[in-house]
């Protein structure tokens, strides 16, 4: 039976019930009885069919309990009970599906962003094809208002793109030649041509969807416990009801007991919260890999951060160019031309800065030599350049004037790396390069602390000066500098041994061992690098620390929500059974309360979808107001 038929059957039985009420008032007893039996049979048939299908598969279903109860009720002539119970069961199941869909709406909103069609250039013609038919290497054209159908670099054109599907960040990003664009993102303005590098199920977007789907299936400890509980619970309820019958010889009470004890709200109480929570995270650019991760994250009290790329942008920038007897632009041009051969990130930063200032780099460096860890030497326009740190200058026996030395150490204390430039064995300038602290870092860390993190520690391979500066700026509790990857692992290990619950946040590859050691590993997604997305427990898709603080608050709210639901569900069943045994609750009214309790559990979980950490009052509320007080049994 499909959804449409269910609605029809439920509606018919509702109409018949209403008719029966009118007949009751009119005093047409026989007509009323016939109507009630008809209603029971119409609504009962699909339930019975389903219960038999389950028996064939050797599965014990709630439908079976209801079928037994209804047959029993018909047998003892309780037609009102049988009609009401079948109707309530169908109607409740229908409402459950509808509301349950709401808890999944975040994921659905994401999958709805999936592109369907692509415009590709083949044999000089532009064809519109289904995304499934785009092949690697195809040249894809995307216009304003269209979705990018593949992952790949832009080969022509510029555009502003809304990348919310990938990063959760809805502020548009502008992209041009050679920039990567991702499937599922939306071109707001502009026109781009993209070469398809990843298509179909291999795109970052498709993998995110798959990871979220799997995360929602992976069960939390509470869920696993509840499921084990339910498998023991259902058969033992059947045994108990036999016992009730033997003790009371009351068929009606026995049947009521049987139906009321259905573990409906119990079984869904934990999963609905988790699904809603994971969905909320996914929409806000945080991939939380499953219910167990959610429960662990909520318990974290210590966070260990890597510095470069995590607390800072990981993209060094030139902060100052200082020339001695030479124009700044000229100094930058010569240095950049020499650094053209460099693969070191500082060298690249200088080249990038020169390009950014539209300085034309035309000369090829000659006799270039890379002095590993110290700098480079090269001849540009016949001038001999040495570019690098103090050590390089000492090795080359190039004297550093005290004025320049003072300037350099002053820049270093401000958190920069000072790069000395000498032309023809004379220091002619200093270029300062610094990595910037992420703009949202301070606020995000403050929020984490407010939400219950006790200790924040930075572990970095960088020098003490810079580490100290970042640490002080962000108010970290402890700072360990000049570490190797294995030292980081040891540090995380020892924190765990001291009894802390540790989360480690890093930018993926070099931090991977420490991330794996921690209770919870967080990785910056960087728009989806393979390793970080696969290994970490939590991925911050837009590389933003405020997503972390959101995730932490969300995890606490989700676990709280799950607890409310579980207590409520267990409490309801317990009180109902007690009511049945005391003769206060009957089949129809018990069924009603039971269905209402299931709906309340789902509604409570739905609140998580809109959960935000931004309004502090909101979080307070979610702790104080649960749905329990609303119902009186």
């Amino acid at each position: 039976m499909n959804a449409k038929q269910t609605v029809r059957v439920t509606a018919i039985s509702a109409i018949l019930l209403a008719a029966a009420i009118i007949m009751h008032i009119a005093g047409w007893h026989d007509a009323r009885q016939i109507t009630l039996v008809t209603s029971t049979l119409i609504a009962g048939t699909p339930i019975t069919i389903k219960s038999f299908k389950a028996i064939r598969m050797k599965a014990f279903s709630i439908e079976l309990l209801v079928t037994i109860a209804v047959v029993g009720a018909l047998f003892i002539g309780e037609y009102v009970e049988s009609a009401v119970v079948t109707f309530l069961f169908l109607f409740g199941a229908m409402l459950e599906i509808r509301t349950m869909e709401k808890t999944r709406s975040s994921l659905k909103a994401l999958t709805d962003l999936a592109p369907l069609e692509a415009r590709v250039m083949r044999d000089g013609e532009i064809l519109t094809v289904s995304v499934d038919n785009v092949e690697i290497g195809d040249q894809v054209i995307v216009r304003s208002g269209e979705k990018v159908p593949v992952d790949g670099p832009i080969i022509s054109g510029t555009a502003t793109l809304n990348e919310a599907a990938i990063t959760g960040e809805s502020v548009p990003a502008s992209k041009m030649l050679d920039d990567q664009v991702f499937s599922g993102t939306l071109v707001e303005h502009g026109y781009i041509e993209v070469i398809a590098v990843r298509v179909g199920n291999d795109t970052t977007f498709a993998r995110i969807i798959e990871l979220v789907e799997e995360a929602q299936e992976s069960k939390s400890k509470t869920e696993k416990f509840l499921e084990r509980f339910a498998t023991i619970y259902t058969p033992s309820i059947v045994l108990l009801s036999v016992l009730v019958y033997l003790l009371t010889r009351n068929i009606e009470m026995t049947l009521t007991f049987l139906v009321i004890a259905c573990p409906g709200a119990l079984v869904i109480s934990a999963p609905v919260s988790i699904v809603a929570g994971i969905g909320n995270g996914a929409r806000n650019g945080v991939l939380i890999k499953g219910g167990e991760v959610m429960e662990q994250l909520a318990k974290i009290d210590t966070i260990v951060f890597d510095k470069t790329g995590t607390l800072t942008r990981g993209r060094p920038e030139v902060t100052d160019v200082y020339g001695l007897g030479i124009e700044k632009e000229e100094l930058l041009r010569l240095t950049a031309e020499a650094e053209m051969i460099s693969e070191h990130h500082l060298g690249r930063t200088i080249v990038k800065e020169a390009k950014k200032r539209a300085i034309h780099l035309s000369n090829q460096p000659e006799d270039a030599e890379v002095v590993k860890g110290n700098g480079i030497m090269a001849t540009v326009e016949g001038k001999h350049l040495a570019v690098g740190n103090r050590k390089l200058m000492e090795d080359q026996k190039i004297p550093i004037p005290s004025e320049m030395e003072d300037y350099a150490s002053q820049r270093e204390k401000a958190g920069n790396t000072a790069i000395f430039v000498s032309i023809s064995r004379e220091i002619t300038g200093i270029i300062s390069v610094a990595d910037q602290i992420r703009p949202e870092a301070a606020e995000a860390l403050a929020k984490l602390r407010k939400n219950g993190i006790k200790q924040m520690i930075m572990l970095t391979g960088d020098n003490r000066h810079t580490a100290q500066l970042v640490g002080e700026h962000l108010g970290l509790d402890e700072i360990y500098a000049e570490l190797l990857p294995k030292d980081k692992v040891a540090a995380v290990q020892s924190l765990k041994e001291q009894g802390h619950r540790v989360a480690m946040a890093g930018d993926g590859i070099n931090d991977a061992p420490a991330i794996a050691t921690a209770d919870i590993g967080l990785a910056m997604g960087e728009g989806g690098t393979d390793i970080s997305m696969e290994t970490a427990d939590i991925v911050l898709m837009a590389d933003r620390l405020d997503q972390f603080s959101h995730a932490y608050a969300l995890a606490k709210a989700t676990v709280q929500n799950m607890k409310q639901n579980t207590f409520f569900a267990v409490g309801t069943v317990f009180l109902l059974l007690l009511g049945v045994l005391l003769g206060k609750v009957f089949l129809a009214s018990g069924m009603l309360v039971h269905e209402v309790s299931v709906l309340l559990v789902i509604l409570n979980a739905i609140r998580l979808i809109r959960y935000t950490n931004d309004k502090p009052s909101n979080q307070k509320q979610s702790e104080v107001i649960s749905d329990e007080p609303r119902i009186t049994l």
């Binding site: 299908k53 598969m57 050797k58 014990f60 349950m100 999944r104 299936e217 079984v267």
Partner: protein
């Protein structure tokens, strides 16, 4: 080896999962079954020389669960 994804009508109870998983796992040529309860999907890896995706769809529908659409990769 092929991979089929069946998009189902919304599942209402976790017990459906067991039913579908059990029945498919017993079918000839099926290597791996995963029912995604929350995304209403059934993922099956199967040997196309032994069984066709349409046969699997028929099997799922016989259990009482309508398939909305089928994707084979």
């Amino acid at each position: 080896m092929k991979k089929a994804v069946f998009q189902m009508e919304p599942f209402s109870c976790p017990s459906c999962v067991k039913k579908i998983e059990g029945a498919l796992a017993r079918a000839n040529g099926v290597q791996k079954v995963k029912v995604l309860f929350h995304s209403n999907k059934v993922r099956v890896e199967f040997d196309e020389a032994i069984v066709a995706a349409n046969d699997l769809q028929e099997l799922i529908e016989k259990l009482g669960y309508p398939v909305l659409n089928l994707k084979v990769a």
